[in-house]
């Protein structure tokens, strides 16, 4: 068992084109560190310093991690983590 991480189209150049990859960790931060060891540069696209980038949404199973403690959200084998860039814009 591992944690399945679903990767959006725009970040699949970091995963060799894979739609989902597997990782391990006790927290979201740990999981991203584990992913970074195999997918160089991915973490930088997800995180801004120690926190999540403002226009990246990350879901643990079916909940937004911002409601679950952010990067400290606990994760475990069998979980599914989904990354979706926010759809956003404006007049300026």
């Amino acid at each position: 068992m591992a944690i399945e991480v679903r990767i959006p189209t725009i970040l699949r150049n970091y995963t060799g084109g894979a739609k989902s990859v597997e990782g391990a960790g006790d927290t979201l931060a740990g999981l991203f560190a584990d992913l970074e060891s195999r997918h160089d540069g991915l973490r930088e696209r997800l995180m801004d310093g120690a926190g999540l980038r403002r226009f990246i949404n990350v879901y643990l199973n079916d909940e937004d991690v911002r409601f679950l403690g952010g990067m400290d959200a606990p994760v475990k084998d069998g979980d599914t983590v989904t990354v979706l860039p926010a759809v956003a814009g404006g007049m300026h």
Binding site: P8, D62, T82, L84, A86, M91, H92
Partner: protein, 152 residues
Amino acid sequence: MLTISRALRAQIIAHARKDHPDEACGVIAGPAGTDRPERFIPMTNAERSPTFYRFDSMEQFRVWSEMDDRDEEPVVIYHSHTSTEAFPSRTDISYASEPQAHYVLVSTRDTGGAGDPEFRSFRIVEGDVTEEEVQISEGDAGMIRPDGGLDR
């Protein structure tokens, strides 16, 4: 080139008018790989703002999961500008993250929500914007009444 039915075009415009002066936003899903916009999905603008839009994060998750289950993709991603032209702003370009999508912009600035607004389509790939032709097809996704409204 974007090919879109007259009925779907009318639905986008109706949504933009309804939410004016706030920006309206949404998606038209289609079968993956076909480039055919078919299923109209108006989204909540979580910002409820005349100058900014952002899909509600949980609604986006549900809609994206549903598209995945149905083997669809976001063929069109639309939003309105309510006091500027229907052209991608710097903000629109920097957050554009679906390179296969047609980014449709509607401007309600001149019409205040009445009349036929500007309706334009763009590709946004790695920060480069390319406008494309919009071709209207007489689809079967609804019937247009003589007054421009939509019967379904």
